[in-house]
């Protein structure tokens, strides 16, 4: 207790050191005067009185010293003094300080920002109870390894499985919401009653769906997302019991979900309804797959065991029902489903940012070393005057800590800014698919990471110069104009650092090059269409005509002709789904070919007469659909090249017939073959696809494609307005240009994002390593000024001097590039998942990187070489 009090007082003493010194002086002085007074009173002459008192007082300085040591804590006081000294030193050299703080701040900024993404995605647990026990369930078929379940299959899986404590299904959907402003399409989801209990999420307001609330007899109810509650109802506290009209049916609002709830698979769904089996005829068919499974593993059951159990059940169902032929099942951890796609990218980015941080550290280390080198004299003098090594080292440490603290502050502030920038670049659609990114921020884990990085950097910057300074005997530093080994050893060490920097830059540049090339290849694959000048939007026709095919066809014709008459519109096409989206599939058989009930799965699109011409597709044989192909005519289909090659090998398909695999389906005549169109994801092989005539098989939800001679972006609002003028009950949504759609597919934006980021890192690495090389060459030139002067005085031409300097630099550059290329081959294997149409060891990219970096590096060394060559020999010889 007593001791603690004393320490507290001493700690406080740190703060008012000067005041305490003065107070002591006053006290000593007053006591001295009292002593003199006494002495005078006892009859001493004034001179002697003073002398006697001073003798009595004894050595004041040791007393003061002891007093000072007692007054505060010497270690801390030294630290404060060191810090003040360090700040003064750093301020005296603003060029060094700014460069070091900026470079290191940059490295910290990049790695902290990327780590924050890694944290939000891979480290922060999903907002469900025990998320590690949640799994997604899929049916697997040939074309689609992660396909939705059919409702009857779901019931069987739920009944037969021995591995799940709960199993539910959900379906992302869109509802037409009747609002004051007209019909609007809102993202929604239908779920079985136990869905939220399986997730372990409870509504923050109201109640969860009750068991049985998903039965056809139950009254329609809905749970709101927090965002919908805020946006559409202004956070109305009395919302429960009110109704929302979805798809023309009143739903009672029974609950509101918590604000941090998200579920990537359904995006930002606003309305969550209990799934009613009578709502959709699809739910009654075993062959109609629209539901995604979500289950919680029983205690002690692994994902693999669950997967095996589901495969077993799927096998049994396959035997039982012909419609399940060729259909397996699979169980995948929910975390894997949510973040599996972005994980490899984040790992690549984190490695990239880490390498950038490393290069920044190396760069600053060499700066610090050069500085330490120029302070050898100072250190030697201080040692000679009795400064202990510990004190000198602590000086280095303090300087490093001050430097790193400044960089850290800069890094954190700019990392926040960078994170915001990156989020804004991601775009709303992609954010909806990655809702976990909303948790992005400078939380404790991110700060801990930043601190660890900073501490490591500080250690590096303090240990290296301290170690370097004491390597050779310090006294050497005192020798006037010392030309000891120190300079050359530093040069060798610095050269090694530069080789390391160049090698890292090569790795980053190769990575960026490969990603960029993949992205380019991806966007320049032959999609079979001309995506420029295409405007697209989604249409949902009014619910009132939902069941009447004739009315749907009539309204669709009306929409098409209205839009076609707009100025600037060249043609209008309709498809059930746009390209690059994947989507529906069908089982077919070819009439006249042997068929044993196997599932010949093909992609499936309902398209209008003008669709292919509008897209700019290529007709290989036959004809396109015409407006006349309607319900009154025999059904006709168009197939793509892939389907023709797969199912009509060596035959001419035109004129042949195709039917759906069901026994009762009517044969349809193939009237044309188109060149393959990328209907599925850009980075997957083209699906064989069957196109049927929209007028013969209409749908009240479809996509519009409009080709224009003008700006397609400017046309979008005009299109929507024209449609609403025709009938305000028609919902339009997802108004986007085709190029925008292609660019924002996951295949494209994930590659684009990573290419840009790694590219940015690589560019910075290039600059930093060039600067590092410049520093080393300039230092070497500075040290060799005299030698160069002698050479020139003896008749060496400037060309020879250039050669002398550049030869040295070229050695370093060649070394760095060679090591970097070898490392990049290993590093590129990390990128494998992200590469498209390019090999990990792509010689073109490597050659380009070698040339680029080589040129930049030679330029960086040319500047000091030029200075060396322009040295005046007389000045050089006189120097020092």
């Amino acid at each position: 207790m007593k001791r603690m009090r004393a320490w507290m007082m001493r700690l406080a003493g740190l703060l008012r050191a000067a005041g305490r010194d003065r107070e002591l002086a006053d006290e000593v002085e007053s006591n001295l005067q009292m002593n003199i007074d006494d002495n005078l009173r006892s009859g001493m002459p004034p001179e002697q009185a003073r002398r006697n008192a001073l003798l009595k007082l004894g050595g004041v300085e040791p007393a003061k010293e002891a007093y000072r040591d007692r007054r505060s804590i010497p270690v801390l006081e030294n630290l404060l003094r060191d810090t003040r000294f360090a700040i003064r030193q750093l301020r005296k050299n603003p060029g060094f300080t700014c460069t070091a703080v900026l470079v290191l701040g940059l490295g910290l900024c990049a790695s902290v920002a990327i780590f924050a993404f890694v944290d939000a995605t891979l480290i922060k647990p999903l907002p469900y109870r025990d998320p590690g026990r949640l799994v997604g369930l899929f049916e697997t078929v040939q074309l689609c390894p992660r396909c939705p379940l059919s409702y009857p299959d779901y019931l069987d899986w739920k009944r037969l499985n021995k591995v799940f404590s709960a199993l539910d299904v959900f379906e992302g959907t869109g509802f037409t919401l009747r609002t004051g402003a007209g019909a609007e399409m809102v993202r929604s989801a239908s779920v079985t009653a136990g869905f939220f209990r399986t997730l372990g999420v409870a509504p923050m307001l109201g109640r969860d769906f009750r068991a049985g609330e998903d039965s056809p007899a139950a009254a329609p109810t809905v749970i709101l997302s927090y965002a919908a509650w805020q946006k559409r109802y202004g956070g109305d506290a009395a919302i429960l019991g009110k109704t929302a009209t979805l798809n023309g049916e009143a739903h009672v609002i029974v609950g509101v979900l918590p604000p941090d709830f998200h579920f990537a698979a359904t995006g930002e769904s606003e309305y969550w309804t209990a799934l009613h089996t009578n709502a959709n005829s699809c739910y009654k068919q075993r062959g109609c797959h629209s539901l995604h499974g979500l289950a919680r593993l029983r205690d002690g059951v692994s994902v693999q065991a669950a997967d095996a159990n589901i495969k077993l059940i799927a096998g049994e169902l396959e035997k039982q029902y012909p419609s399940n032929l060729g259909q397996g099942g699979s169980v995948i951890a929910l975390t894997e489903l949510e973040v599996g796609r972005i994980r490899p990218i984040l790992i690549v980015l984190l490695c990239g940012a880490g390498l950038l941080l490393l290069i920044a550290c190396v760069n600053v280390t060499s700066l610090v070393l050069v500085r330490a080198e120029s302070r050898r004299r100072e250190m030697a003098v201080r040692t000679a005057l009795g400064g202990s090594r510990a004190r000198l080292v602590s000086q280095f440490v303090t300087e490093a800590v001050v430097l790193v603290a400044a960089s850290g502050a800069l890094g954190l502030v700019s990392a926040r800014w960078l994170m915001r920038l990156l989020i804004s670049l991601i775009g709303p659609d992609q954010m909806a698919a990655m809702p976990f990114l909303n948790g992005l921020g400078l939380n404790l884990r991110v700060l801990a990471f930043a601190t660890a990085a900073a501490v490591a950097a500080a250690a590096l910057f303090s240990i290296t110069p301290a170690w370097r300074s004491f390597l050779p005997d310090l006294r050497e530093g005192l020798a006037e104009g010392s030309r000891g080994s120190a300079g050359t050893t530093w040069q060798r060490f610095g050269a090694k650092l530069v080789v390391l920097e160049l090698a890292i830059a090569v790795v980053l540049l190769v990575g960026a090059g490969l990603l960029g090339k993949s992205f380019y290849r991806l966007l320049h694959i032959d999609m079979g269409i001309q995506p420029e000048h295409l405007a697209t939007l989604q249409i949902a026709e009014p619910d009132s005509i939902h069941d009447d095919n004739a009315k749907v066809v009539a309204l669709t014709r009306e929409i098409t002709s209205r839009l076609a008459s707009l100025p600037g519109v060249q043609s209008v096409g309709i498809s059930s789904l746009l390209p690059v989206r994947g989507g529906n599939t069908m089982w077919i058989r070819v009439i006249g070919h042997p068929f044993h009930g196997e599932h010949n799965e093909v992609g499936y699109r309902q398209v209008s007469a003008g669709y292919f011409t509008t897209l700019g597709a290529k007709l290989l044989r036959g004809r396109y659909f015409s407006e006349a192909d309607d319900a009154s005519k025999p059904q006709v289909v168009i197939i793509d090249r892939a389907l023709a090659e797969k199912y009509f090998p060596g035959e001419d398909p035109v004129g042949k017939q195709i039917a759906y695999s069901g026994a009762s389906s009517t044969p349809m005549q193939v009237v044309g073959i188109v060149e393959d169109i990328k209907e599925g994801p850009l980075d997957e092989a083209t699906w064989p696809t069957l196109y049927v005539a929209f007028n013969q098989d209409p749908d009240d939800h479809f996509s519009l494609v409009v080709r224009t001679s003008k700006s397609e972006k400017a046309l979008l609002p005009t299109l929507a307005a024209a449609i609403h003028r025709l009938d305000p009950g028609i919902s339009t949504y997802e108004q986007r240009t085709m190029s925008d759609r292609i660019n924002s597919t996951p295949a494209a934006y994930l590659r684009r994002g990573s290419a840009w980021l790694v590219g940015g890192f690589a560019l910075l690495a290039l600059l930093l390593s060039a600067a590092g090389l410049y520093g080393v060459v300039a230092y070497s030139v500075g040290r060799r000024t005299r030698e160069i002067g002698v050479r020139m005085a003896l008749g060496a031409q400037p060309g020879a001097v250039y050669r002398l300097i550049l030869k040295e630099a070229a050695g370093l550059i060649a070394g760095g590039i060679a090591i970097g290329l070898v490392c990049s081959v290993a590093a590129a294997s990390l990128l494998r998942d992200l590469l498209f149409g390019v090999h990990a060891a792509d010689p073109e990219t490597m050659a380009a990187v070698a040339v680029l970096l080589g040129t930049a590096a030679l330029l960086a060394s040319y500047v000091p070489a030029r200075r060396a060559a322009s040295v005046n020999p007389v000045d050089a010889l006189r120097a020092e």
């Binding site: 004894g58 002891a66 007054r71």
Partner: protein
């Protein structure tokens, strides 16, 4: 001079405390003079060594200080014993008496045999 034995440091603090107990509020010079007088001038104190000891006692809370005026109207820093200091004095005096008693017995001619 630099490495004074701890016992000396400890006794100086004890003497300061005792002096303050006897004399009440007192300044550093007064304390030093008093210690010299009490020791019958056997102890010659370097007044400078007193200040660190006073600071230590003050930091530990045994004494408190205040600026005031001396008898001949000089500004001086006065020290007084706190309640904690009084307790410390009691305890240390007891310990010291015990220690000297033990040592005295040791050093007495018959001590070794007993």
């Amino acid at each position: 001079m630099d490495d004074k034995p701890d016992v000396w440091q400890g006794t100086l603090a004890l003497m300061v405390l005792k002096t303050l107990e006897t004399m009440g509020e007192q300044h550093g010079y007064g304390i030093a003079r008093r210690i010299e007088q009490t020791s019958g001038n056997l102890l010659s104190l370097n007044y400078g060594t007193l200040y660190p000891a006073l600071l230590k006692l003050e930091q530990e809370g045994s004494i408190a200080s205040e600026w005031g005026l001396s008898e001949n109207k000089r500004k001086a820093k006065f020290y007084r014993l706190t309640r904690a200091g009084r307790k410390q004095l009691e305890k240390e005096a007891r310990d010291w008496r015990q220690a000297t008693a033990i040592l005295a017995r040791f050093l007495s001619p018959s001590g070794g045999a007993a």
